[in-house]
């Protein structure tokens, strides 16, 4: 579902490119990022090639400080091990590195997300008699719990942005209002949700997700219609800065390698 958007320059970009570039911009030089495959991996590698050359990529397969030349197809690609500073066991990556508080930013995706940034990657429907059995939690519960903060990348539509999750696989801001902290979670939870329509961030006091930015050409109505609850819109709603020529060039070079 690639949406072609013409903008006021001659730069044309897809929704995926917009999402990847927004995610990439969120990373600062030197950040230690726990990444999965797909947009997170591409975004982290894009950041490493543009504004954040010292971003550190950690994959749950146990590769620390990987510098892949092309976007990996699986979190366990051989190149991740070959270009890593260190390769450790999966046990160690979860204990000493993720739970040990060594990860600044964790990337997450999901099938469903609620207004508090909690995630479902387990089932659609009843757990014992599911309509759709999803792959399951994987490492997401621990990333959500233990990374200093998390970024969520998810296309915005009413099947995904739901009023109530069928299953809580990973905790975001839980029931809001600081309730996350009482669970004993180490990190501060989702700091940004990047969709194909715009950007949501948690309200500083209630922690409910708020639409803070629309991507070029997208509308508030699209965001509201794509959300299964009454989405709050920021008083200071902005337009996402479109991809620059150099961002697009770097991303496309990366994707074609």
């Amino acid at each position: 579902m690639v949406t072609q958007l013409d903008f006021d320059t001659d730069l044309t970009f897809t929704a995926d490119e917009m999402m990847t570039i927004v995610a990439s911009r969120e990373l600062s030089d030197g950040d230690v990022v726990f990444v999965g495959i797909g947009i997170p991996s591409t975004a982290a590698n894009l950041a490493r090639r543009t504004h954040a050359p010292n971003v550190v990529l950690v994959y749950e397969s146990g590769t620390i400080g990987t510098k892949p030349t092309r976007p990996p197809l699986s979190i366990g690609d051989g190149e991740l091990a070959e270009t890593a500073d260190a390769v450790v066991s999966v046990s160690e990556i979860f204990s000493y590195w993720l739970q040990g508080g060594r990860i600044d930013i964790g990337f997450l995706g999901a099938a469903q997300l609620d207004r508090w940034g909690n995630l479902n990657t387990t089932v659609v429907g009843d757990y014992d008699h599911p309509t759709v059995r999803l792959p399951g939690a994987g490492g997401a519960p621990e990333i959500a719990f233990n990374a200093r903060k998390t970024m969520i990348v998810l296309r915005q539509n009413p099947r995904a942005f739901v009023d109530r999750l069928d299953f809580i696989s990973s905790v975001g801001h839980y029931e809001g209002h600081g309730s996350r902290r009482a669970l004993g979670a180490a990190g501060s939870g989702p700091s940004i949700i990047i969709t194909d329509i715009g950007v949501l961030r948690p309200d500083v006091t209630t922690h409910e997700l708020v639409l803070v930015s629309l991507h070029p050409g997208r509308t508030i109505d699209e965001a509201l219609n794509g959300t299964g609850w009454a989405l709050r819109v920021s008083d200071e709603l902005t337009t996402t800065e479109p991809p620059t020529a150099s961002e697009l060039a770097a991303l496309r070079e990366l994707s074609s390698s």
């Binding site: 366990g76 051989g78 390769v87 046990s91 993720l98 387990t122 399951g136 621990e142 719990f145 905790v171």
Partner: protein, 283 residues
């Protein structure tokens, strides 16, 4: 000291109906040949354990070898769903499959606890999720020093742990390198263990990083390309085409059953299956 034997004999001796069996390998060195041999010998009522059930467990579940599955992520990496796994859970075909579901962190802690001779392990996680509601092997424990409540998970101690590695030496020590997953933990947590290897060597490759001494291994079998369609670092690459094609083969259970007959039941061993898989045959 392990016996160096055929995969047929290793499975015949060490894997029994009703056993708890863990085949581990995290994206790399997945013991696919061993999974096929378990199907070929028509084992039943297995409790299958694996962090990331992927194609090989889709095949074992689709063949009806398992009645329960302990796991944390079940999918075809980079492709999508596991159709045999889903049909078993969603529709009870070929028969119902009960599940014991964890996160990766929880599974890793369970293997470590099992390898460490402890009945449980501790981690930060699970609180606030719905997993503890459905999974009995998740509980809580209080820190006796801080009073803090933490997640506790019961230890995993499979009857048989099965892994694939690059090399065995003549003494039966096992050497592997690259992404190492939870293979050491899976072997050390298990009562018995089978290791398939690419080859037996006089001296390990200098890239070897994890060594399992011979005396913790029950049986070794040499199975070149035994991790296909996953990869063996230094030997062959991941067969991404096969992962995509599996989606097609597994989507319909009649088509799957046909594949099963041709590639597993009607073959003598994994080499025959590989020879029938076009993009592999020439390698």
């Amino acid at each position: 000291m392990p016996t160096i034997t055929t995969l047929h004999d290793a499975v015949a001796e060490h894997v029994h109906d009703g056993d708890t069996v863990a085949l581990e390998g995290f994206t790399h060195l997945i013991p696919v040949a061993a999974g096929h041999e378990i199907i070929r010998q028509r084992r039943r009522d297995l409790r299958l354990v694996r962090m990331t059930p992927d194609i090989v467990y889709d095949q074992m579940i689709g063949a009806g070898a398992a009645t329960s599955l302990v796991f944390s992520w079940g999918g075809n990496p980079g492709v999508g769903s596991l159709h045999r796994f889903r049909e078993a859970i969603e529709k009870g075909y070929p028969h119902p499959l009960s599940i014991e579901e964890h996160s990766h962190g929880g599974m890793a802690v369970r293997y470590s606890a099992g390898a460490s001779g402890l009945p449980f392990g501790v981690l930060r996680g699970y609180t606030g999720t719905d997993l503890p509601r459905y999974t009995d092997s998740i509980s809580t424990v209080q820190c006796p020093f801080t009073g803090e409540s933490l997640a506790a998970v019961s230890a995993l101690n499979p009857d048989v742990g099965i892994i694939h590695a690059q090399q065995a030496d003549r003494d039966g020590n096992i050497g592997l390198w690259g992404i190492q997953g939870v293979q050491k933990e899976a072997v050390l947590a298990s009562r018995r263990s089978i290791v398939t290897v690419e080859e037996v060597v006089d001296t390990f490759d200098s890239r070897v990083r994890v060594v399992l001494p011979s005396w913790v291994i029950s049986a070794i079998a040499v199975v070149p390309r035994g991790a296909h369609p996953s990869y063996a670092h230094g030997y062959y690459e991941r067969d991404n085409v096969y992962y995509r094609e599996w989606d097609e083969i597994s989507r319909d259970h009649d088509r799957f059953n046909e594949w099963l007959e041709q590639h597993v039941y009607d073959t003598e061993d994994f080499a025959q299956h590989l020879a029938m898989t076009p993009h592999v045959a020439g390698v």
